[in-house]
Amino acid sequence: MAKPVLLVTRRLPPAVEARAAAEYDARLNPEDAPRTGADILRLAQGADAVLCCPAEKLDAATIGALPATVRVIGTFSVGFDHIDLGACRVRNLPVVNTPDVLSVATAECAMLLILAASRRAGEGERLVRSGTWQGWAPTQLLGTLVHGRRLGIFGMGRIGRELARMAQAFGMSVHYRDVARLPEALEGGATWHEEDASFLAASEVLSLNAPGGAATRHWLNAERIAQLPRGAVVVNAARGTLIDDAALIGALQSGQVGFAGLDVYEGEPALNPGYPALENVVLLPHLGSATVETRDAMGHLALDGIAAVLEGRTPANLVR
């Protein structure tokens, strides 16, 4: 029996491509060329499944024009904003994604940002690389101690809870803000805040771990920043839209926020030019989940979901 045909829109980690090639008649993209909607429609002729990425917009027109042979779409991502689910529903086309497996890597990234920002790693790195380092001095590049500080987590989902566990191992006390209090077993000793005011006042280090979207757009604005303890550390490994960039840049200049660490930006891959002009920020290019382990796990989960649909089963990672 011929293997089913799988269109893979972008280059994937080697282990994932190897499995795709073993289990499918796989149409890969070794050059990692960007794919437009028209490219996808052309390449999907005769395909049983499409494995896409967030860079491709699968709008209603593209979904509607996909060949009838396509029985499932997998996306190599947790988010599915790039796929018109309404159009999929009309065609009765199931979509599978890759939830959960990014939590640990993203929490690690947030912890890296907390440590790097608090300990002025960007400045230290640049000093060493410049070749002009004059040697150890008692008052050189003094940061703030992470151990024993209060960490405020805005958004206590899977990533927030992973981060809480890591931070507690640094002796940090964890406070969190979310729409509702978690059950005690999931709370892990963290303190819930019903109000922004008490939460912000407690947050010597503030980590944003909430979803994006209209409800949280510019949640961290000038008014909320003013309620943080002076010199607070702010990190964001979630969504760029959570922050009013102008307000944060102003606070970093005034010292209201001492240090910041960012992995995500509003309008990325462009970013507010105010950030790279500052010494007291550490900047990463949205690579929160960029570990070999996580990307492999994402790929395998997407392939598991596609295989399940093609075999007539309901996958656990079906987008509903």
């Binding site: 060493v128 380092w133 004059q134 890591m166 462009a270 990463l284 996580t294």
Partner: protein, 347 residues
Amino acid sequence: MAHDRPFRNRAGTVIMVLTTLEGPARMTPRLIVSRQMPAPVADRIRAEFDCPWPEGRDMDADEMLNQVRATRADALLITSHLKFGADVIARLPDHVRIAATCSVGFEHIDVAAARARGLKVTNTPDVLTDCTADLTLLLILGACRRAHEYDTIMRSGWRRGYGLGEMLGVQVAGKRIGIVGFGRIGQAVAQRARGFGMRILYTGPRRAPPAIEQGATFFADLREMLPQCDILTLHARGGPATADLMNADTFALLPRGAVFVNASRGGLVDEEALIAALQSGHLFAAGLDVYKNEPAFDLRLAALPNTFLLPHMGSATIETRTAMGMRALDNIAAVLGGGKPIDPLWT
């Protein structure tokens, strides 16, 4: 500038205030501080000591000795920048009773000469433990997650997204970490590593009791531990016994793709072998806070993309540097008050 004020006037003022408050019998102890100190430490020096520059001033040995003679100082507060060798110790006047170094390490001090002279010498252990352990995890995360390359991308403008298999780092969670030297800092690193679900392996002169081990696996022989380490971190003492502990042979024993970090002593590492292992890809990355030659470290390390480099910042937090200064002052106060030092270099 405040630093250049004539010290006699300033010192005189302090003495007058204190004599009024505490009576003429109590002499304010005289102190020379040979390096800049954080503000809260300077405040305490101002309040408790007679010192020409309570903020500290960067002095070489000659200037320090001149100041000591001019003020008839009872005590010295030094840091590792000042070579406190036998020649300097021999020139110290008898009225100096204690030299407190604001550091854990004391490679800059000739301990034998100080002992022979009857000088008390103290350091500042304990207070750096959490700070250094935090920084060690920063080195681990920064090296594994390619923080240097990522920050460089951002500062040069970014402007393009990365493919799903591109610029990938190594996950820290769930890995096996080998800790060389399971003292206070090594144990604090283990504690943090547990928060990432890491398996803890360690080696040192002796096995720790179970309450401290907390499930960590002891190896009597470093060479037996190395093949099992995804991440290796050094927290051993410096000195001839551990010089070049990590060399071509020992790096080769690590599995391919391992990550190496060092926040303890630069002398533990043969940097030639380290650079070769980073260039060949035998090591995925290295995170370093200390170097064989500081500050004139091997610039080839800075030319490598897979290094995460910090300028000896293990204790560089306001809280810790303040605590170190305070601890040094505690030692000075104890000795000048006729008691025993809290952190003597020898007993």
